[in-house]
Amino acid sequence: MSRLSALRPLHAEWTKLRTLHSSWWLLAATAVLTLAVGAASVSAVGTGACPSAADCHEDTVKLSLTGVWLGQATALVLGALSMGAEYGTGTIRTTLTAMPHRVALLVSKAAVLAAMTAAAGTAAILGSLYAGRLILPGNGFTPEAGYPLPSLADGPTLRAAFGSVLCLTLTALLGLGLAALLRDSTGAITTGLGLLYAVPLLAGLLGDPNWRDRLERWAPMPAGLAIQATRDLSRLPIGPWPGLGVLAAYALGLLLVAGAAFRVRDA
C-alpha cells in the first residue's frame, strides 16, 4: 500500500474519466451548449414589445443563463456514464477487485466528476454572462433603462453565477447517483431526463396555480434554477438558496441511497 492510499482511488477515477473521449466531448458540449443557448436567448429578446424599456421587467442575468436548461442534460449524461459505463462493459468488477472499499470508490468518483463539471460549468457561466454583456445593450437593455450589465461584482449576479455552476455539478451527481442505483446508464439517463424535464413541463401546462407552485417548489430543475433569479424574488415559488437546496437534496440523497445499495449489492 502506498502512503497516499486515500488519493489512490481519486487518481484512478481521474485517469478513467480523463482518458475517455466521451468525457471531454460531454464537458465541451456542456460548456458550448450552455453558452450557445444563453447567447441565443439573449439575442432573441428585445425591449421592442414593451411600452418602454423599463417596463419589460426582464431579469437579464437569468436570461443570460438560460443555457443551463440544456447544459444540465449533458451534465446528467456525463454523470450517468461515469458509473453506468462501468456496468455496461463489466469494468466495475475489475474496479471493485482493485478497490474493494466501495464507499471510497463512489466518493472519489463523485469528487472527480464534480470537479470536472464545475470547471466546465464555470467556463460556460462566465462565457454566458460575458455574451450577455456584449449583446444586451444592443437590444435595449441598457444601464440607463435600469438594466445594469451583468457583473460578478453585483451580489445577486454572483449568487446566480455561482449557483448555476452548482446546479450543473449537482445534476451530474444526480446522474451518477441514478446510474449507481440502477446499474445501467440508459435507465439512469431516461429517468434523469424525465425528472429534469418532464416535471417542469407538466407544471407549466397545469391550469391550477397551486399545483404549479407545488411542482415548481419540489421538482429538482425548477427549484434548483430559482438560484438564477435576480429580480422579483418575492414572486418566486421558492427562494434561491432553498431552491438549490432541493436540488442538492435530490442529488446527495440519491447518492446516499445509491452508496448504501452499492455496499450491500453485487456488482
Binding site: V77, L193, Y197, L202, G204, L205, G207
Partner: protein, 528 residues
C-alpha cells in the same frame, strides 16, 4: 485451408449425400430471403426481451396516469359567471357590438361609405376594429349574420356566421355594399362609390325573410402582454372605436323606416355581478346623426369566435409528454442494444441488405409503439374528460366531448402517431450515433426542451421554437381551432401551438425522414 468448392481427396469415405461434385450444404432448410422474414425476425427480437415489453406497458400506464393527474390539477372556477354565446354551428363566440339597424324584408341592399375609424380618445384604433354594414337575422347575440367591414390593419373583410372570413382588397376601398337576394348575400367594395368589385357571395346558416340591416361598429379590447422569466400577464384595457359613416343608403321593403340603435350582447347594466368600473364594465355605445345619411357611431366588443376558453381536448393528454420518454428509450435501445452487444454483426450477416433491416426495425418499433400509444390515449381521454368535468369544465361553456366526435379522434390517433414517430426518430438517431446515451439525450432534448423554453422565452422566440423543433407535433392534440381573423395571443403555457394540428405533426415527420435518410447513408458506408 481448402475451399469447400474444391472436392477433398478423401472421396470414397464421404457419405452418399455429400457427393464429390457438390459443395457442402447445411442440413438446415435455407431461410427464405424476404422482407416478411426480416419483419418476423425483428418482431421476435422485440417481444422476447421482457424488459422492453415492460417499458412499453409502463409507457402506456404512465401516459394514462399522468394525463389523469394533469386533468385533476386543472380547475375551472369561472363557469357559470361567464355568459356563453353560441354561433348557429355551436362554436363559442363573442357577439357584442353597436348596431344601428332597420328591418329589411326580403331582397334589398345596404350601402355606406366608411370615412374613418378612430380609437378611444383619439388613440389609434385596434388592428381588428370593425366598422361596416351588416345583415343579421335578429339582434339576439349569436344569431346568423353577414357583415362587410373596413378594418384599420386588415383591409376590407367579408365575414359571416363568426367563423368565416373572406378578404377583400387591402387598399383604400372605403365604400361597402351588401345585397340580399333570396338566401344569398353578395358583398361589393369600391374606392369611389361608382365602380364596384364583388368580394363574395355567401349563404348564411339561418337568415329569415324579415332580417335586420344596418351599420355596426365593434373593437376587441386592447390587450397588453407582459412576459418575462417567471410569469406572463395579459391585461385587457378598455377600447372603443368610433366610425364616421356617410352616404348611408338602404334599399328594400322596410316596414319601419326609422333607425334603431342597439348594443348587441351588452350585459344588463343593473347586473349585480358587473363591476362598477374598470375594463370589465362595458361602455355603452353611441349613435349621432350628423347629416342626411351620415352617422358617427361608437361601439365596443367583438364579433368573432371566442378564443380565450381553455382547450379541454389538449388538457386531456398531458401524460403523453411522459410517454414520450419511454418511447424514446425503447426506440433507441432497439438498435443501440445490438451495437453494444455486437449482435448487429450477426444481424447484418444474416441479412446483408442493411436498409431492409432498418426498414423492418422501423416498422416493428413504429407499429408496437403506435398500438400502445393508441390504447393509452384512448383510455386516457375519457378518464381525463370525466375528471375535467368534475373540476368545472362542463357544459355549456365546455361541451361534453366524446371519443369519436369532433377533434377528439384526431387528438387520440395523433397522440399515438406522435409517440410512434418519436420512437422511430430515436431509432434513427440511435442508428446514427450507435450509443443509447447519445440517442436518448439528443431526442429528449429535441422534443421536450423547446416546450419548456417556450414557457419562458418571449412570444416571438417561443413561437419559432414551436414551429421549427419536433415539439411542434404536439399541436395535433389541440381541440380548439385558431382563426386567423381573431387577434389571439397564442401562449404555450395555455397549450396553444402556432401551427395547425397536421402541419405540426408533419414537422416531426420531416425530422424522422431526415434522420432515417442519414441513418441509411451511415449504415451503408460504415462498418457495423
Amino acid at each position: 485451408m481448402t475451399s469447400s468448392s474444391t472436392p477433398p481427396s478423401l472421396t470414397p469415405s464421404t457419405p452418399p449425400e455429400r457427393t464429390p461434385s457438390t459443395p457442402y450444404r447445411s442440413q438446415l432448410h435455407p431461410g427464405r430471403d424476404g422482407f416478411v422474414r426480416l419483419l418476423r425476425a425483428e418482431w421476435s427480437k422485440f417481444w422476447t426481451v421482457r424488459s422492453w415489453l415492460l417499458v412499453l406497458v409502463l409507457a402506456a400506464a404512465a401516459t394514462v396516469v399522468i394525463s389523469q393527474l394533469g386533468a385533476s390539477g386543472s380547475v375551472n372556477d369561472s363557469n357559470g359567471r361567464v355568459r356563453i354565446v353560441s354561433a348557429p354551428d355551436g362554436t363559442r363566440v363573442d357577439d357584442t357590438f353597436r348596431f344601428v339597424h332597420r328591418p329589411l324584408t326580403g331582397n334589398g341592399s345596404v350601402t355606406v361609405q366608411v370615412s374613418g375609424i378612430e380609437g378611444r380618445e383619439g388613440r389609434s384604433p385596434e388592428p381588428w376594429a370593425k366598422a361596416g354594414v351588416m345583415v343579421k337575422s335578429s339582434t339576439k347575440p349569436g344569431s346568423s349574420y353577414v357583415a362587410l367591414m373596413v378594418t384599420p390593419d386588415h383591409g376590407v373583410r367579408m365575414q359571416w356566421d363568426f367563423t368565416h372570413d373572406e378578404q377583400g382588397s387591402s387598399s383604400g376601398a372605403r365604400w361597402l355594399r351588401l345585397t340580399r337576394s333570396g338566401q344569398e348575400l353578395t358583398g361589393y367594395e369600391s374606392p369611389d362609390g361608382r365602380e364596384w368589385t364583388k368580394i363574395a357571395t355567401v349563404r348564411p346558416a339561418d337568415l329569415p325573410k324579415a332580417a335586420r340591416a344596418g351599420l355596426f361598429v365593434a373593437t376587441p379590447p386592447h390587450t397588453t402582454l407582459r412576459r418575462s422569466f417567471g410569469g406572463t400577464s395579459a391585461t385587457a384595457g378598455i377600447a372603443t372605436a368610433t366610425a364616421d359613416f356617410d352616404h348611408v343608403e338602404l334599399r328594400g321593403s322596410a316596414a319601419d323606416p326609422s333607425w334603431t340603435s342597439t348594443d348587441v350582447g351588452a350585459p344588463d347594466p343593473d347586473d349585480p355581478d358587473l363591476p362598477a368600473s374598470g375594463p370589465a364594465r362595458p361602455i355603452p355605445g353611441s349613435t349621432k346623426v350628423t347629416g342626411a345619411g351620415a352617422f358617427t357611431v361608437t361601439g365596443q366588443g367583438d364579433i368573432a369566435p371566442d378564443q380565450t376558453a381553455g382547450d379541454t381536448v389538449q388538457m386531456s393528454f398531458q401524460g403523453v409528454w411522459v410517454g414520450v420518454l419511454f418511447m424514446v428509450a425503447l426506440g433507441a435501445l432497439f438498435i443501440t442494444a445490438e451495437y453494444k452487444r455486437g449482435m448487429i454483426r450477426t444481424t447484418f450477416t444474416a441479412s446483408p441488405r442493411r436498409e431492409q433491416v432498418l426498414a423492418a426495425k422501423v416498422l416493428v418499433i413504429g407499429g408496437v409503439t403506435f398500438a400502445a400509444g393508441l390504447v393509452a390515449a384512448a383510455v386516457a381521454f375519457p378518464l381525463a374528460q370525466d375528471t375535467l368535468r368534475s373540476n368545472g369544465f362542463k357544459p355549456p361553456a365546455f361541451p361534453d366531448l366524446s371519443l369519436l366526435e369532433g377533434a377528439a379522434p384526431r387528438a387520440v390517433v395523433g397522440s399515438a402517431l406522435l409517440l410512434s414517430l418519436v420512437a422511430v426518430l430515436a431509432l434513427a438517431v440511435g442508428a446514427l450515433l450507435r450509443s443509447s446515451a447519445g440517442a436518448i439525450t439528443a431526442v429528449v432534448v429535441l422534443v421536450i426542451l423547446p416546450q419548456i423554453l417556450a414557457f419562458a422565452l418571449p412570444l416571438p422566440a417561443a413561437e419559432w421554437l414551436l414551429r421549427l423543433t419536433p415539439a411542434a407535433a404536439f399541436a395535433i392534440q389541440q381541440g380548439v381551432t385558431h382563426y386567423p381573423q381573431v387577434d389571439h395571443n397564442c401562449l404555450p403555457e395555455s397549450g396553444c401551438y402556432p401551427m395547425t394540428p397536421w402541419n405540426g405533426l408533419a414537422v416531426l415527420g420531416a425530422y424522422v425522414a431526415v434522420a432515417l435518410a442519414l441513418a441509411v447513408w451511415r449504415l451503408r458506408r460504415r462498418d457495423a
